[in-house]
């Protein structure tokens, strides 16, 4: 894996293929060292997962990419341009949904467009499209507290899709969703990845989930977090969801990561 050894500030060879490049990122919260010299490339149009134990700094890294948190040192480039804050080419899906309780599903989904100053009719028609895409048609006028956890996160997802960002940053989007809905949600996500052709950066602490949805898995070690291993599951994603979950490649990758975790994390 070349990522972890790529020279600092060098123009990466994969320039055309990487939507996001993370270079020598370190992050301290006071005395706590959360991230240590993270170097990563995120290939365009792929779903890359950041996998690691709780508290290892996955959210921190994702928020640094989003421009919501300042790194202590190092930089992030999106399409070759250095990140100084949030930007229109990135959209964030929050672990706790971050829905406005006083706003309907429609207003929540259209909120990113509302902030850009888009007219009501236009943003609502865009929002309606993505509400349908995540399977929430008919719930436009509901308020978040009237929805289940899974439905709330679909609203968060639709809101991120609606601004048409190239890079979607998802922070453990399914962690507050029950197991049954979680599987359905993972399958829907794969379809959306296929359909939307965007770059996804996905955070999870579930190995099965990571292997099931990812083109590429970045294994992070315990704090201070470093890139421990990068794995590219070779799985035929055209197969049915149940077939994928029984696929030998899938099972082998899960096992490989288990072994890796034992090795790197302890």
């Amino acid at each position: 894996m070349t990522e972890s050894t790529a020279p600092v500030h060098a123009v990466p060879r994969t320039e055309g293929d990487s939507a996001v490049e993370v270079r020598s990122i370190c992050k301290y919260y006071g005395d706590i060292e959360a991230l240590r010299l993270i170097d990563l490339d995120f290939p365009r149009g792929k779903l890359t997962t950041l996998l690691g134990p709780s508290g290892c700094g996955k959210t921190t890294l994702l928020k640094i990419i989003a421009g919501l948190v300042e790194p202590t040192s190092g930089d992030v480039r999106v399409n070759g341009k250095a990140v100084t804050g949030p930007g229109p080419e990135r959209a964030f899906v929050f672990q706790d949904f971050a829905l406005m309780p006083w706003a309907t599903v429609m207003r929540n989904v259209a909120f990113g467009l509302e902030l850009k100053g888009m007219g009501k009719a236009e943003r609502q028609s865009i929002a309606r499209h993505y509400i349908a895409e995540v399977g929430l048609t008919g719930f436009e006028d509901k308020y978040p507290h009237e929805l289940s956890g899974g439905m709330r996160q679909r609203v968060g997802l639709a809101r991120a899709f609606a601004v048409n960002a190239e890079v979607l940053l998802l922070d453990e989007p399914f962690s507050a969703v029950d197991e049954q809905n979680r599987r359905k949600f993972q399958e829907d996500l794969l379809q959306l990845v296929e359909k939307e052709r965007k770059t996804f950066i996905f955070v999870t602490h579930s190995i099965e989930e990571a292997v099931y949805v990812s083109d590429r898995i970045v294994l992070l070690s315990r704090r201070p977090s470093r890139v421990a291993q990068i794995i590219e599951p070779k799985i035929d994603r055209t197969a049915s969801p149940d077939a994928i979950r029984r696929d030998q490649g899938y099972l082998d990758t899960v096992e490989e990561i288990w072994q890796g975790l034992k090795h790197y994390v302890d």
């Binding site: 971050a98 406005m100 308020y143 507290h145």
Partner: protein
């Protein structure tokens, strides 16, 4: 100035009020003990009526024992209330009481919410202003009201000031706490979609803080009522304070109680109106379950 209406009420108080009839009507809902739990969840209004009814019943019984010569029964008070209402003295009294109250609460509301928001958003403003209001909130304001008369005399100004002194601190401090505790995740969400600072404040922070801001306004309004009544009792008797003072001085206790109860009634109705306004305008989701 109220000589004629006072004369009327004196006459009215001599009349004895009808008894017995309605007491059973008030009592009967309490008999359905079994359905009480269900009643509580499915009919919140019915429960409020029931609890008020029980209170009135106990009042009526206590008045008839009687606890004290100066303690009228509920029905006597109700009768006195309607006669005060009909002879216009109650309305005239509120006409003058509401002036300093409305002006004072309006000023406290606007200044208080504004100051609270600024303090919540800026550390500098917090350091500058917060200690003052924390001291003011814990100070015994009622004791300070007579001092106002030395500076501002006994007119509308002094009474308005009394209202502001009681209402403002709680409004400011609630507004400030509400803004300071706005959900950081929503703020980050707004930032992630490139919301400007102004959008962040108007579209996320203030709506998120509005329930606590409104709680402050409700407390401020209630404190304003206390302020205006205290001012009317302590500075110069006018309006409803005059009504209370007068009827106490001539031992029309039913009228006195009616005037006191009317304050509770008016303040409760005003608070309910404020709550309805909040739900309608700022937090529509609270209308449903």
């Amino acid at each position: 100035m109220m000589a004629s209406s006072q004369a009327n009420s004196r006459v009215n108080s001599q009349l004895t009020s009808p008894v017995n009839g309605p007491v059973r009507a008030v009592h009967s809902p309490a008999g359905r003990g079994l359905g009480l739990g269900r009643l509580f969840t499915s009919h919140p209004i019915a429960v409020r009526v029931l609890s008020l009814g029980l209170f009135f019943l106990i009042w009526e019984i206590a008045g008839r024992i009687p606890i004290s010569y100066a303690f009228p029964t509920f029905l006597e008070t109700l009768y006195a209330f309607s006669s005060l209402l009909l002879d216009g003295s109650l309305i005239a009294a509120y006409g003058s009481t509401l002036q300093p109250l409305v002006i004072g609460v309006a000023i406290s509301g606007i200044v208080g919410v504004g100051l609270g928001i600024v303090m919540g958003l800026s550390r500098k403003a917090e350091w500058l202003v917060a200690p003052l209001f924390i001291v003011l909130q814990s100070a015994p304001m009622a004791a300070l009201i007579p001092l106002i008369t030395f500076v501002y005399g006994i007119g509308l100004m002094a009474k308005t000031l009394a209202v502001i002194m009681l209402a403002l601190p709680v409004i400011v401090l609630n507004g400030y706490k509400a803004i300071r505790n706005a959900n950081p995740s929503l703020v980050a969400m707004c930032r992630s979609f490139q919301g400007t600072r102004l959008q962040q404040i108007t579209k996320v922070i203030i709506p998120d803080a509005s329930p606590v801001i409104f709680a402050g306004l409700r407390l401020g309004l209630a404190a304003g009522f206390i302020g205006v009544i205290l001012a009317e009792l302590l500075i110069t008797p006018t309006g409803i304070g005059d009504l209370i003072t007068y009827h106490r001085s001539v031992a029309n206790y039913a009228e006195m109680y009616a005037a006191v109860v009317s304050i509770i009634l008016v303040s409760t109705l005003t608070l309910a109106a404020l709550e309805a306004f909040e739900v309608r305008v700022l937090r529509p989701e609270k209308k449903r379950g």
